[in-house]
């Protein structure tokens, strides 16, 4: 039940930088970051061939460099809780040497004997594990370059720039399947997830996004929220719901004013901050909130923040849960 570190780090940076940037330029910035294709988005170099692992495999990293994997890695250090979930889901857990401290799903990852800090990564400690692959989702303190200099292979898919949509997560599952030599399992997982994803999309087919339910996604009790430009925002876009935070003035995780929330009158309130003491009842008891449609009609739901914010296979669970919360009549 802990939010991935990298994600909070991002928020932390946004809180500092966004404040100044917003004050300085008033939010003139790219409008739909999630649809923008990053030229460095990790992709397979060359045509993806048949299902059998076909080493060597080359993967373009988020920093533009290329990772070459000669054989299936046997000592993976995963610094991304999302990637760790993927590794478990595709049966690659036997190849893991260490996971990061935030990894808490599945139980195997939660109870993993060797854990490293991804928030303040210690390159020495990582190198001492003699990894043959380090999975990095956030290049903190020049981590990638330092691992490169030690000739440790790094799989670097930047969570802030390259894993921004549900489709990006599917791409990650495919890539990690190939890199670890679990192509078949990855394909099977993608089939299942793809079916469920299509089922969700079918249910929201034809919903008019100018009149669909308005959603307020609460990250904490001071009204930080996730705008359309965030990973979470893509879930609501996929569900064709309206995000009351809009594009967030270019900020993926902006702080709304209470006045704006009340004026926006959301139809559904999604709480991703239940673990911090916010409850459905405490939201109902907030002064001035009684007339919000979601409060009046009892449309407040709490969701596990990890499944909505962590780019792993459970993102489809998140979509199904949010779908049920927003369109109870369509998701029986």
């Amino acid at each position: 039940m802990r939010i991935s570190q990298t994600w909070w780090r991002w928020l932390f940076a946004v809180a500092l930088a966004g404040a100044l940037a917003a004050a300085a330029c008033g939010g003139g910035s790219d409008s739909s970051p999630s649809r923008r294709q990053n030229p460095n988005e990790p992709t397979l170099v060359g045509a993806p061939s048949a299902s059998a692992p076909n080493y060597p495999i080359e993967v373009r990293r988020s920093d533009g460099k290329t990772l070459t994997v000669g054989q299936a890695p046997k000592r993976i250090v995963s610094l991304s809780p999302g990637a760790t979930e993927i590794l478990y889901a595709i049966g690659a857990e036997g190849q893991i040497a260490a996971v990061d401290k935030q990894a808490d799903y599945p139980d195997g990852a939660k109870n993993f004997p060797t854990k490293v800090d991804a928030f303040e990564p210690n390159v020495e400690a990582i190198a001492a594990l003699q990894p043959d692959l380090v999975i990095v989702a956030s290049d903190i303190n020049g981590l990638v370059a330092r691992l490169d200099s030690l000739n440790i292979p790094v799989y670097f898919a930047d969570i802030n720039t390259d894993i921004k949509t549900v489709d990006d997560v599917m791409t990650q599952i495919n890539l990690l399947g190939r890199v670890t030599g679990h192509t078949d399992q990855a394909t099977a997982l993608l089939d299942t997830l793809g079916q469920r994803l299509r089922a969700v999309k079918d249910k929201v087919q034809g919903i008019n996004q100018t009149t669909s339910p308005k959603v307020y996604h609460e990250l904490d009790s001071t009204f930080f929220t996730a705008s359309e430009g965030s990973f979470v925002g893509d879930l609501y876009r996929t569900l064709r719901a309206r995000n009351i935070a809009g594009d967030g003035g270019g900020n993926p995780y902006p702080q709304m004013t209470q006045e704006a929330i009340i004026a926006a009158n959301p139809d559904v309130i999604v709480l991703a901050d239940e673990e911090f003491g916010v409850s459905i009842d405490s939201v109902k008891a907030r002064p001035g909130w009684a007339n919000i449609a979601a409060v009046k009609n009892n449309r407040i739901v709490a969701i596990d923040p990890d499944i909505v914010s962590r780019p792993g296979p459970r993102i489809v669970d998140a979509l199904e849960q949010l779908g049920k919360a927003i369109y109870p009549e369509r998701f029986q």
Binding site: Q258, A263, P287
Partner: protein, 365 residues
């Protein structure tokens, strides 16, 4: 006390000041400042990202305050004006008044132009208290029963008591030791907070958010928490205006003139610290106001504490209400951190004032 008068007169003649300040000489300025502050508060309540006409706003206010129903207004307008804007504006006014007033009082008792309400460790102590709650499993809610304000308040008081206790030398408390022990206690508190931020990095944003200060979660409850302390502090410190003037001359001289320097300092310190602690507990750390507003007041109205103290309160209130208005309505939907606004807009305004007045700041009358 005749000595004080004589000294004051001599002092006044040296600076070619007009006759001694009496209550009726003071009244017009104070009345003007009070009216201005009330006007700023009402205007701020009428403004916001949601367009609600001044008539509706005043109608809602009249409805709740006087029980006069001035036409019908929507439930949403009622909620926004009465539950969100009104407590937010009043809380900003209360905190602004407290910080500026406490800042002026601290500058007086320490005879130091750089003294501000946080100098005795109030901010650091409150941060430790708030941070401990944020990282603990205790429920953090924006609602009535949040343990955050009491924890911040307790932390602030512990820090100030520590700083005061450590600065004691026998029966006297030298102001230099007070400032130094305040700085020392502050740095201990700050390092504790930094450590907690790193150790509980999933809560870093929540901690940072609290430290930056905000009125986004203002409520009537918070107004009710902070106002008694502020009102008591005003009532206790305001009558000391003249004594604080004397204190500016020289500590030994003031003692000779019959001023119990340590007693005055303790009373003012306790009252100002309590009010600051209560303000910090409900709003987080809002810098700049407590340091700069008293100086701005001095630049415009001179350094007499009988004038500086009340005017600092009114100007602090108006200033913070206006800054918060910008923080909550510069962007249509999103919040700007109040600390950023006060510094970005307040600092240039102050510098402009400083240049235009074309004189050095005088802390001592």
């Amino acid at each position: 006390m005749i000595g004080i008068e004589r000294l004051r007169a001599a002092h006044a003649s040296r600076r070619a000041e007009p006759a001694p300040l009496t209550w009726y000489a003071l009244a017009p300025t104070i009345a003007l400042a009070a009216t201005g502050t009330v006007a700023v508060i009402v205007v701020a309540m009428c403004l916001g990202t949601t367009r609600i006409s001044p008539a509706t706003t005043l109608g809602v206010l009249g409805d709740h305050l006087l029980g006069v129903s001035a036409g019908s207004h929507s439930a949403s307008a009622d909620a926004i004006v009465w539950e969100i804007r009104a407590p937010r504006v009043l809380l900003a006014a209360l905190v602004g008044a407290t910080l500026a007033f406490a800042g002026a009082a601290y500058q007086a008792i320490f005879r130091n132009p750089l003294a501000e309400p946080y100098i005795m460790g109030v901010a650091a102590g409150a941060s430790v208290g708030a941070t401990l709650v944020i990282v603990s499993p205790l429920a953090i809610t924006a609602g009535v029963l949040s343990p955050l304000p009491p924890a911040a308040f307790a932390g602030a008081l512990i820090a100030v008591s520590l700083a005061y206790g450590l600065a004691r030398v026998g029966t006297t408390v030298p102001s230099a030791s007070l400032i130094l022990s305040g700085v020392a206690v502050s740095s201990v508190g700050t390092s504790l907070v930094t450590y907690l931020m790193l150790a509980y990095n999933t809560r870093t944003l929540a901690i940072l958010n609290w430290i930056l200060g905000s009125f986004n979660t203002a409520s009537w409850t918070k107004v009710a928490i902070a106002s008694p302390y502020a009102l008591v502090a005003f009532a206790v410190i305001l009558p000391f205006g003249r004594v604080l003037n004397v204190l500016q001359l020289d500590e030994t001289e003031a003692r000779h003139l019959g001023v119990d320097v340590d007693r005055v300092r303790l009373i003012v310190l306790v009252a100002a610290s309590l009010a600051t602690a209560a303000a910090v507990a409900v709003s987080g750390l809002i810098g700049f106001v407590g340091l700069i507003v008293p100086h701005a007041v001095r630049l415009v109205w001179g350094p007499d504490y009988r004038r500086v103290l009340p005017l600092a309160a009114f100007c602090g209130a108006s200033f913070l209400v206006l800054m918060d208005l910008i923080a909550r309505s510069a962007d249509a939907t999103f919040e700007l951190p109040i600390g950023v606004v006060t510094a970005l807009i307040g600092a240039p305004c102050f510098l402009l004032l400083l240049r235009r007045q074309g004189r050095a700041i005088e802390v001592r009358p």
